[in-house]
């Protein structure tokens, strides 16, 4: 018996001033609604400066 049921399908962890890590069961869609194929763990940009939207390319370091 599991007494701590997991009640979420994906985990989102963010670093202040840097990226957002997404892990688990998720679908990523671009602004037109098309699915962007990904693995089950990705890093999305939160700083607005990446050159490969929507993913973090470490440009946040230059801020």
């Amino acid at each position: 018996m599991e007494n701590t049921p997991v009640n979420y399908v994906a985990e989102f962890t963010f670093k202040p001033g840097a990226s957002l890590r997404v892990k688990g069961d998720f679908i990523l869609k671009d602004s037109r609604g098309n699915i962007i194929p990904t693995g089950d763990s990705i890093k999305l940009c939160r700083c607005g400066k990446t050159k490969s939207q929507p993913f973090c390319d470490h440009s946040h370091r230059l801020l």
């Binding site: 979420y8 399908v9 994906a10 989102f12 962890t13 202040p16 998720f26 607005g48 929507p54």
Partner: protein, 150 residues
């Protein structure tokens, strides 16, 4: 700030309104003015449509300004509601990139910062992508002021 938040119920569901997070995308009132009418007081009329229809629109709000929850003490309806929530739980989370705006996440997710502090999420959670929100990690609409492109 918190005190401007409101909730509205029809007994079956409760809709939460957090004005601070509204970016005035007008989704709610262009699609269901019988319920969401900024000219009326209160501006949300829970008798204007069915719960299902209200939920549909709440789920289209691109920010966390609108959220809803099924009320707990509601005999029969609760059973259906619980089932719905359970079915939802099995769906993968969906991350929708909004053009020049936030990440809009639907589904059951866990949101934490890298120190492990957990943040509350709703049926729809909009996270800032432009880097300048005043309410990190959430989008507060500032991306429009800075004309964020991405």
């Amino acid at each position: 700030m918190e005190s401007n938040n409101r909730d509205y119920t029809n007994g079956e569901i409760t809709v939460y309104w957090r004005p601070k997070l509204c970016i005035h995308a007008t989704t709610c009132y262009t699609q269901l003015v019988e319920v969401f009418n900024p000219r009326n007081r209160p501006w949300i009329n829970m008798k204007g449509a069915t719960s299902e229809r209200i939920i549909e629109i709440v789920n289209k709000c691109p920010t966390d300004a609108l959220a809803f929850k099924w009320n707990a003490d509601n005999g029969l309806t609760e059973t259906t509601a619980t089932k719905k929530v359970e079915t939802q739980t099995l769906q993968p989370a969906e991350i929708q990139i909004m053009k020049d705006g936030p990440l809009v996440i639907t589904g059951k997710i866990k949101l934490t910062d890298n120190d492990g502090k957990e943040y509350k999420t709703y049926s729809i959670t909009s996270l800032c992508r432009c880097g300048v929100s005043n309410n990190m990690p959430f989008c507060d609409g500032t991306h429009r002021k800075i004309a964020f492109e991405g």
